[in-house]
């Protein structure tokens, strides 16, 4: 054991490298850099003998991806599989201004290190603060496997596949998008990798409308499953999946949103689902042949409950009430005007104004594609009703 400012790992140097890599993906970036630096200083000298030591100058940070690629090219299973060490949760000691983490190797031996309190944020800081470490000491591009090979290799850790996927998205977005679509459709993915492909679905574009339809359906499938997760890591994943699905789902598959409009799961999906439904009809009204009855009924119920004076309050409840009222109006629910009356009863002028402005925006968007539709008339009536508060 050492003091708080250094990392030592009693295990092999490979274990130290693995710990550093795992920590790099488990903690925030400044922690990662500290770990990598410490691992390099204290253990990597041995490991890098097999990883072309000339790549790393004595005082340079090791770039994680370079390290991983080198490990692969040297077939160092212990390094790149990340199976030899793990990082447990960190604790924060405000009085010392230090953040402590513990590392544990494969023998159960733990060690502790700390990093200074978080850097002051500035715009781009969290991105660009790492840039100096992205400056590679030497190009190795031509000597490592292609990013697509790494991303598709299920034997590799999800962290390594993520690095490769990023690169693949940048170099060949169309092929990468096909791969992401395929991965989303699989049900046997590990949870970490599953999260990565969901996030990736938002980062890329799917050119084929049939692929988009499948991706939307798969995203909602993942969201329905993951909303019951108790892991805090899954909350933003679920929100991302629903938001992305709403941006591409065909309107005749809207009923797939229904299970996400119920409460009772650890991850509340109602607000983001309502936003997703509204997004579907941002540009044009629902097609008459599409049955939105059940969805519309559920949304009206949600709106009524959230406008209830015993329940209503600012923040998420209010946001759900507003979004449900907009969605109900857009879908042409017959109770829409009644929901407007409930909104007026809050006596919140700003809220009513926001509701009115949002509906006016939808009406403007629809005007060019479907002037005078029944739903457009309902929106117009709703706006007039909300104007009556003034």
């Amino acid at each position: 054991m050492t003091g708080n400012n250094e990392l030592t790992l009693p295990g092999s140097s490979s274990a130290a490298v693995s710990a550093a890599m795992l920590a790099a993906h488990s903690a925030d970036i400044s922690t990662s850099l500290l770990v990598i630096e410490a691992a390099q200083r204290l253990a990597l000298k041995q490991a890098t003998k097999r990883i072309r030591p000339t790549q790393f100058g004595a005082n340079e940070f090791v770039r994680l991806s370079e390290l991983l690629r080198s490990a692969i090219s040297n077939r160092d299973e212990a390094v790149f599989s990340c199976q030899t060490a793990s990082v447990t949760a960190g604790t924060y000691s405000e009085s010392e201004g230090l953040r402590k983490y513990r590392l544990k190797d494969e023998h159960g031996t733990e060690d502790e290190f700390a990093r200074p309190s978080p850097r002051r944020p500035s715009d781009l800081q969290s991105n660009v603060g790492t840039v100096k470490h992205l400056d590679p000491p030497a190009p190795v591009t031509d000597e490592r496997p292609h990013a697509s090979l790494l991303a598709t290799d299920r034997a590799l850790s999800s962290e390594l596949r993520l690095e490769a996927l990023r690169e693949w998205i940048a170099s060949d977005p169309e092929a990468a998008s096909q791969f992401v679509a395929t991965e989303l459709h699989r049900n046997d993915s590990q949870s970490n990798w599953s999260r990565i492909v969901i996030y990736a679905a938002e980062a890329i574009r799917f050119q084929d409308s049939r692929v988009r339809e499948q991706v939307a359906s798969d995203l909602l499938h993942h969201a329905v499953r993951l909303r019951h997760s108790t892991s805090s890591e899954d909350a933003p994943v679920v929100l991302c999946a629903i938001r992305r699905a709403g941006s591409i789902i065909p309107e005749d598959r809207l009923s797939e949103f229904l299970p996400l409009l119920t409460a009772g799961s650890p991850i509340d999906t109602r607000l983001v689902t309502l936003q997703a439904i509204t997004a579907v009809f941002n540009c044009s009204p629902p097609t008459a042949s599409v049955d939105v009855q059940k969805l519309s009924e559920r949304i009206v119920t949600l709106a009524e409950k959230h406008w209830d004076t015993d329940v209503f309050k600012a923040g998420e409840v209010s946001a759900i009430a507003i979004e449900a009222t907009i969605a109900a109006t857009v879908l042409g629910a017959s109770q829409a005007i009644d929901l407007g009356t409930l909104a007026l009863r809050t006596c919140r002028q700003l809220l009513v104004g926001k509701l009115r402005t949002r509906l006016q925006c939808v009406m403007q968007n629809w005007h060019s594609v479907s002037p005078g539709s029944r739903n457009a008339e309902l929106i117009e009536a709703m706006v007039s009703h909300l104007n009556s508060a003034e």
Partner: protein
């Protein structure tokens, strides 16, 4: 007329006030440049009511990036406009609605951020709204806009040249240096989804009309001892990126 409130309105440089300042939720807080005080490099919303004694760690809602709730950031400036209860509720609604866009940035962090304009919507392949990109200033501007308060005039902003942008975004120079290397742009794209300065709203060599964080604090300072809400602040010179003016 402005509603009576126990919270002062105006801008306070926190290191000058160790006696304690009552700050209300959604006050604007600022962070100075590490090397160029009083140039302001970051702005955010205070996440809850707080008594501030000098420069201190504060809970924030902000665009870091990423879009997030933040904790433990040492803040140097406080700007308050005397928000009414209804205005606070409106911002509360807005923060809740934006919270569904909180997202890890493990794939392409730059997708959440934009320098100019202060906020843009990203649309999907179908032309539907997917999410918003903000600058840190844009996040604050839009939050207050949801409460009917236009802090700064975003259609009339002073031109900012590249040198000043590097001060406002301390890592800008470093990114530029890397991007100019043979494989630099590819490295940034591979690792961060960086698609060039054009994508961030800063094409070419500038100048650009960027909403800088310091403007917000000149805007809030005009609410001090003012029984009537002042009109929207119009930044007229880039020196107003510092608070107070040198």
């Amino acid at each position: 007329m402005v509603e009576e409130t126990a919270f002062f309105a105006g801008t306070v440089v926190l290191k000058d006030r160790i006696d304690g300042v009552q700050a209300r939720r959604f006050a604007v807080v600022g962070i100075y440049s590490l090397t160029n005080r009083p140039f302001v490099v970051h702005a955010a919303l205070l996440a809850r009511d707080h008594e501030l004694k000098g420069e201190c760690h504060l809970p924030l809602f902000h665009m870091g990036p990423p879009l997030a709730t933040g904790d433990g950031h040492v803040c140097h400036l406080l700007g308050q406009v005397g928000l009414t209860n209804e205005e606070i509720e409106a911002i509360d609604d807005w923060v809740a609605s934006i919270s569904t866009q909180y997202c890890e940035t493990i794939i392409l962090p730059f997708q959440q951020y934009v320098v100019c304009p202060h906020m843009v919507w990203v649309n999907s392949e179908e032309g539907r709204p997917l999410r918003q990109r903000f600058s840190c200033v844009g996040y604050v501007i839009e939050a207050y806009r949801s409460a009917g308060i236009e802090l700064i005039e975003t259609e009339r902003l002073p031109e900012v040249d590249k040198e000043l942008l590097k001060v406002a975004y301390p890592d800008f120079a470093q990114m530029e240096r890397i991007a100019q290397k043979p494989k630099g742009t590819a490295i940034l794209a591979n690792t961060k989804g960086f698609q060039g300065f054009d994508d961030l709203g800063a094409p070419g060599d500038g100048p650009w009309r960027v909403a800088l964080a310091g403007y917000l604090f000149h805007a809030t300072d005009r609410y001090r001892d003012n029984p009537v809400r002042p009109p929207t602040f119009v930044a007229t010179r880039i020196e107003e990126a510092s608070f107070p003016l040198g």
